[in-house]
Symmetry: none
Subunit: 274 residues, 2 copies
Amino acid sequence: MVSSIAELISDRIGAMPAGERRAAQTLIANYPLTGLKTVAEFSAAAGVSSPTILRFVARLGFQNYPEFQSALQDELAAQLQSPASRTLNPGSAGGAASPMLEATLDNLRETFRHLTDKQLTDIAARLAERRGKTFLIGGRFTDPLARYMAAHLAIIQPDVYHLAGQESIWRDRLIDMGKRDVLVIFDIRRYQESLVRFAEKAHHRGVQIILFTDQWLSPIARFARHVIAGRTAVPSAWDSSAALFVVAETLIGAVTRQLEAAGAKRIRDLESLR
Amino acid sequence: MVSSIAELISDRIGAMPAGERRAAQTLIANYPLTGLKTVAEFSAAAGVSSPTILRFVARLGFQNYPEFQSALQDELAAQLQSPASRTLNPGSAGGAASPMLEATLDNLRETFRHLTDKQLTDIAARLAERRGKTFLIGGRFTDPLARYMAAHLAIIQPDVYHLAGQESIWRDRLIDMGKRDVLVIFDIRRYQESLVRFAEKAHHRGVQIILFTDQWLSPIARFARHVIAGRTAVPSAWDSSAALFVVAETLIGAVTRQLEAAGAKRIRDLESLR
DNA sequence: CAAAATACGTAACATAAGATACAGCGCTCC
DNA sequence: GGAGCGCTGTATCTTATGTTACGTATTTTG
């Protein structure tokens, strides 16, 4: 049995022509609001013509557009009256996504529970402090996180470098690093030998290391000035980096705030370069 | 300042004539649904005539009925998009990290609320279906997500390629793409012209496109077979990719499960190569 | 209690909404 | 490469929705 219209749509979205599928996707994207507007507005939002919307509605089994809207309204009414059911889509409540999502939400909460506000502020201050350069590097699966963070930091301040490619390449960059510089490392199980070696050498050169790792702590923690331990356990064969990702975003936010004045100017300058 | 229309009504309900007061009470009774219906339905529900409804709406300060409805819809949209962040994590109030984390948790819940289990399963099936190749690409800030997903997918199946570097480089890879292939694109505001062009060309070659975007839908949605719309709003100048990241991880998990048998063997083989 | 003012509903109107017919286009299949 | 089918958009039409004018009822006030 099909309980919600959203469900009905995703059931049939596969058997729809391109235009109607766009309509479906637009509706799902912010459900159910688009469906409560007029046909003209709906069609404009989806980028198709009005008849396509009507055909889409007809394909879902409704006689006409008002009938479709009534159905949406009834559904909304039911949802608004039992706020408990609002927490999650009933379709995905028992589905495959749920355990994964639940685990991730738990990881996030747990990670931030063990993370004091002071820690974040300190690290952000260290990153915002523009005395030296900032380098970022990650392991096999966490390198994208380093990239992501580098891309954002590079916007609000100069001298941000992501170390990529061959081990030999970033090893050679060591020569540019000194006491005033910061090295952000992402390393979760299984910890990478090459990263540990790199971290050790950087540490000996006096580089300040900020480590993103899992709750079991990479051996790099030994050399790190700041350690962020994220929860990574999810019901799967591999480890989740979601918690670390969110911490990274939070830090980016904190740094942005600290650099407000200088950062804003820099962003304006960047805009004008385009 | 009056934030919600409900508040506005209860402010002025004292100064209303009997008929309009009935209208007000009816609307409040199951707010805001009655207000989204037609004037005729509203008047029937309240047991008054249509002009009374219009006078009521006018008294609230709206020029006409559609304007009133738009206001209700906007309010509803705001309500639906930040579902009760206060219900969860009441303990962690206060810190600098908190607003960011709250927003991210909301984004996650909301993103998955709009994502049916069937959608995820379908997309995972498409990715697990080893008929052709899988290409992944992302925009300026989302490219790391493409990398991350590529790194994981590459472990459990062959023919997974991340498109990196110069636009000209990946444009040339188009020549390798055909009907049997899948292209995963990450694109959030501000949508990248180059990616749209690339998607269009790939689409014309018959490539199946899976799009990760924000709730406003990248123009690429037009060419996409599957669209995943994540919430990106956080209290900061930029957009958060955390929700998309978690969806990506969930998908990786789903694909892993579908490829269980074949994937396990592949992982063992990889291990023995080290 | 009477007179005035206000509120309300009926009915006619204008407008904008949804529905439909049709032609062009792209796609698929021979 | 050509014929057929199906999808999509433009333009037209129809419906019903929101709006307004006006007369009646009701309440309020002197």
